[in-house]
């Protein structure tokens, strides 16, 4: 039994089906990637899992128990932590206070008793943003703010960690360090589920990858299988490279601007209207 099971989840907004019978899971101690073109329904899936969005149909289970109708905060108490694609840091507070808030909430009534801030600083150190501890969260760079959201999550010792595009805004060295951190977390037994557009990172650290397109899981498997899956290539490129030798992913990676790179500037509204390869409008 997986820690997380998403079972035939459907989410409809009016006439639009954002997630269509999506079924996937995440195991404790592993890193799972959730990838797909813009508008494929990845973030909506995260909202459903974390409880910010109630699905039209389908079930979400944690440890085999349905949590589909459980409110957000109670899921968090059961070990679900998440970061946001569009940042949700507490802008008026400093980086350290952001994490302290998370620790206070996680501590419940005991959190009201003052405790030493050492654990908070250790967390900031662990994700590599200790240098920003006293900066206000609305003044730090995007990449740092993503790491802050991660540190905030970790303060609640989650068992399932949902990371929504965690590496956008990080440079290459930082991304490498971030990958190691993820491996570290997984070896501690955390189930990491990650939406990510950096294919090197995804292919490098994930144990399993699910590919979402039009709200449906079109492929699941290990990175090596996903690389060569013709359906996946079609979803990303608008055509499949069936005549090729199979390992065409790396060669075509550079041709993937709408997916792999443009979305990094997530604040930039332009990205939301650029048509992706198969002519659909993203969003």
């Amino acid at each position: 039994m997986s820690l997380l099971e998403v079972d035939h989840v459907v989410v409809q907004f009016g006439g639009v089906t954002a997630v269509n019978e999506a079924t996937f899971g995440a195991e404790a101690g592993t890193i799972t990637g959730l990838i797909g073109p813009n508008g494929a329904g990845k973030t909506t899936c995260f909202n459903v899992i974390s409880g910010l969005q109630r699905p039209t149909r389908g079930q979400v289970r944690l440890d085999g128990r349905a949590v589909t109708r459980m409110p957000v905060h109670r899921r968090s108490k059961r070990g679900v932590g998440r970061t946001f694609q569009r940042l949700e840091a507490f802008g008026s507070l400093t980086v350290r206070e952001n994490v302290r808030v998370a620790r206070d909430i996680a501590g419940g009534a005991r959190g009201l008793v003052r405790r030493s801030g050492a654990d908070v600083d250790a967390l900031l150190e662990r994700v590599g943003i200790a240098a920003y501890a006293d900066e206000r969260a609305d003044s730090i760079p995007t990449g740092t703010a993503r790491l802050l959201e991660l540190a905030r999550c970790l303060a609640g010792s989650p068992r399932l960690l949902l990371l929504d595009e965690p590496s956008s805004g990080l440079d290459e060295t930082e991304t490498d360090a971030f990958g190691e951190l993820l491996r570290d977390l997984a070896s501690d037994g955390v189930a990491v589920l990650m939406v990510e557009h950096d294919m090197d990172l995804v292919m490098g650290v994930c144990d399993t990858i699910h590919v979402l397109d039009f709200g449906t899981v079109i492929a699941s498997g290990e990175p090596a299988d996903i690389r060569t899956d013709p359906l996946v290539q079609k979803a990303y490129l608008g055509y499949s490279d069936e005549g090729g030798e199979g390992d065409s992913w790396d060669a075509t990676l550079a041709d993937l601007p709408p997916v792999a790179h443009l979305d990094r500037g997530h604040e930039d509204d332009l990205t939301t209207v650029l048509p992706i390869a198969d002519g659909r409008s993203a969003r």
Binding site: H73, R86, A89, G91, R114, S116, R136, A137, E149, G156
Partner: protein
């Protein structure tokens, strides 16, 4: 049977007018995301314009109607969108609420200024024509209203579905940025929807004015009906909005017709609209937590406990000196200012820290006052009970709307305030209709405080204690949670915080503080009545709080004094009474996006004086720290990044004394009680620069 038909026709008539007003509200809200609290007030002003054009200047009614609804109202709406409401849809709900409340007060002020109180009547259209349906007389005016509502409904439907600009309007709802990228002009669309919305407010107001009477407040209050109808339509469905308006009109008519004519139930007919609003707000589906971007509000650091205690003591001492030998009337005014200041502290907690807007804060003060007035020989326990009752009522108001946020919470407080104002406070078990209750002065440890000066000082002490309690809360874990919840409810939820109960607690605590103020006020005044707690006072209270700074206790102190001055100035200068409303509204509109308000400028001025004269003053008074004023602390402790509790340390800006070089790095010495009420620095001479520097 014929009476039933008569009531039905009457209900359809007012329902049609409500529907017209409400559809304008829904249109503006859906296209610009600004919920216009001033919608009814705009209709009121336009009704006055209509009276002016038709009765005073003699234009025939129909051309006058066309002129107002077709030209003046849309021009006004366009103007407001351009210069007041632009970009407001992206701002936090609290900002757009404050701005439109300011607009409402400005409308009332404008009307009072241009058309001073006098008897004015507006006749119905075609006053002499009527016909009969099923034995019931129907006036042409009623028929015209019902027909016009149909025309409006059809016109709006056609506009939104059959025209390019209508499509752009609907697109603008989803994503104005996207609309811009595709060559649309969201600003034009917004201006157009404000123009049409204001026209509809005008049309509805003018159709109702012959019924309601040309009155500043009665017409403004019509907006409650429009709110109810619009919320019934979930703020997006025009057909449901129309249905809501009609249902409300009918319910009011039947209540008038069939409820008993005496007792409490007889008054229920007057409050159908707020009851309906409350009911539909409760019935709203759960709000999805909005996920957005990093938001933060720059507020000044919170002073340490020692600093706030020191400045509090300075305030009490200063007031003791200042009030010595003061006349009774001036003392009562100062006591009133202290009341307002404490109520504003409740807004500092709710709005400044928590980011929620209450449009009925003064009503909670009324609940506290009512409880206090019912007590025999009130003592500290009695005062506490008054605060607790108000707090419980506040929590009860928030409880049914626990699942909702922002706008709906504010609307619930508005509905509650009107309900209390028109129904409960006037009931026999409360103050009674037009009546008043006597309240005794507070007794502390068996001694009744008979002297008004002593009583005012006690009020100041309560202000100081409440302020210190608030600042202590703000520095601690709960304060941090409050700020976090204001910045991102969604993140708090995913971190495991049950925001709903937190919010109920916040509302309750805030209402309790207001109730405390109300209890003290009752004791100060001796007699207290429903007229002291009209819902409109809560709106001006909110404006003053925002203008003077709703994020700091200094702002509350200044705001309390300012609000006390408003009626004083208005009665001293009756010629500009309305203009004063306009001035404070314009200030609120200008300052709404800066929640730190005037207080932040006071802090800035203080820092300037500190930089310029601080060294000299200190040279003359070398032992400043030893005088019992806020203590000195080493700056290095304040800046230590690894301190256990940052809030405890870094805010102690008194450490700046003796180190002017650091003053620039501070964003304000916010939070400590201001020590100036009357422009006279209290405490030993020569400390004025510091007093100002600390706000």
């Amino acid at each position: 049977m014929s009476t039933f038909i008569a009531f039905t026709i009457f209900g359809l008539f007012s329902g049609a007018a409500y529907a017209i007003v409400a559809s304008g509200l829904t249109l503006t809200y859906t296209t610009t995301r600004v919920f216009n609290i001033a919608h009814g007030a705009l209709g009121m002003v336009m009704s006055f314009v209509f009276w002016d054009v038709s009765v005073r200047q003699g234009l025939p009614p129909l051309p006058a109607l066309l002129l107002v609804v077709g030209v003046i109202a849309p021009a006004t709406g366009w103007f407001i969108q351009r210069f007041v409401a632009r970009g407001l849809g992206d701002a936090p709900v609290s900002v757009s609420l404050v701005v439109t409340v300011a607009l409402l007060v400005a409308c009332i002020g404008t009307a009072q200024q241009i058309w001073p109180p006098a008897a004015r009547t507006v006749k119905p259209f075609f006053p002499n024509s009527s016909f009969t349906i099923a034995g019931t007389n129907v006036t042409a005016h009623q028929a015209l209203t019902i027909v016009l509502s149909g025309v409006v409904a059809a016109g709006l439907y056609g506009l939104l579905t059959r025209t390019r600009v209508g499509t752009a309007m609907r697109a603008s709802v989803d994503n104005p940025e996207l609309l811009r990228l595709f060559g649309g002009r969201p600003d034009t669309v917004a201006a157009l929807s404000w123009a049409i919305g204001t026209s509809l407010a005008a049309l509805g107001g003018i159709l109702l004015v012959s019924q309601v009477g040309l009155d500043y407040y009665a017409l403004t209050l019509l907006v409650i009906s429009a709110f109810a109808a619009a919320v019934f339509g979930r703020l997006k469905s025009l057909p449901l909005t129309f249905a809501g308006g009609m249902a409300l009109g009918l319910a009011e008519a039947y209540a008038k017709g069939y409820l008993p004519t005496d007792g409490l139930l007889s008054k229920v007919g007057n409050v159908i609209a707020p009851l309906f609003l409350f009911a539909v707000v409760i019935g709203m589906p759960q709000t999805q937590l909005r996920i957005g971007q990093v938001k933060g509000i720059v507020t000044a650091p919170v002073p340490s406990l020692r600093a706030s205690a020191g400045w509090g003591a300075a305030l009490v001492l200063g007031m003791a000196v200042y009030t010595a030998g003061m006349g009774e009337a001036d003392l009562l005014l100062l006591g009133t200012a202290a009341t307002y200041a404490i109520v504003m502290l409740s807004l500092v907690l709710l709005t400044g820290y928590g980011g929620h807007v209450s449009l009925g804060q003064f009503t909670f003060a009324g609940v506290g006052a009512l409880t206090y007035a019912k007590l025999d020989e009130p003592n500290l326990v009695g005062l506490l009970v008054s605060a607790l009752v108000a707090g419980a009522v506040g929590a009860l108001v928030a409880l049914p709307v626990i699942r909702l946020t922002g706008l709906y919470l504010a609307l619930a407080t508005l509905a509650f305030a009107v309900l209390m104002d028109k129904l409960v406070f006037q009931a026999d078990f409360a103050f009674g209709f037009g009546g008043a209750l006597t309240a005794e002065r507070l007794s502390i440890l068996g001694t009744r405080i008979e002297s008004t000066q002593g009583y005012v000082l006690v009020m100041v002490v309560f202000f100081v204690l409440t302020a210190i309690a608030l600042l202590t809360l703000r520095r601690g874990v709960l304060g941090r949670l409050l700020i976090a919840l204001r910045d991102s409810p969604a993140a708090c939820g995913t971190l495991g915080l049950d925001a709903r109960w937190f919010r109920v607690g916040l509302f309750g605590l805030s209402a309790a503080i207001a109730g405390l103020a109300g209890g003290l006020f009752a004791g100060l005044r001796g007699t207290i009545g429903a007229a002291d707690f009209q819902f409109f006072s809560s709106l001006t209270l909110l404006l003053f709080a925002v203008v003077f700074g709703v994020t700091s206790v200094t702002g509350a102190l200044l705001g309390g004094y300012g609000l006390m001055q408003l009626p004083v100035q208005q009665s001293e200068n009756p010629g500009v009474a309305g203009l004063l409303f306009v001035v404070i509204s314009v200030a609120a509109i200008l300052l709404a996006r800066n929640p730190n308000g005037i207080a932040s400028y006071v802090f800035r001025l203080g820092r300037l004086l500190e930089e310029r004269y601080g060294t000299q003053v200190r040279a003359r008074v070398p032992d400043l720290a030893g005088l019992g004023l806020p203590g000195r602390r080493d700056r290095s402790a304040a800046t230590s990044a690894q301190d256990e509790d940052v809030w405890d340390e870094d805010a102690d800006n008194l450490a700046l004394i003796g180190d002017p070089g650091h003053t620039r790095s501070l964003e304000g010495t916010d939070g400590s009680p201001a020590s100036r009420v009357d422009g006279r620095p209290e405490g030993p001479e020569g400390r004025g620069a510091h007093v100002a520097a600390r706000g």
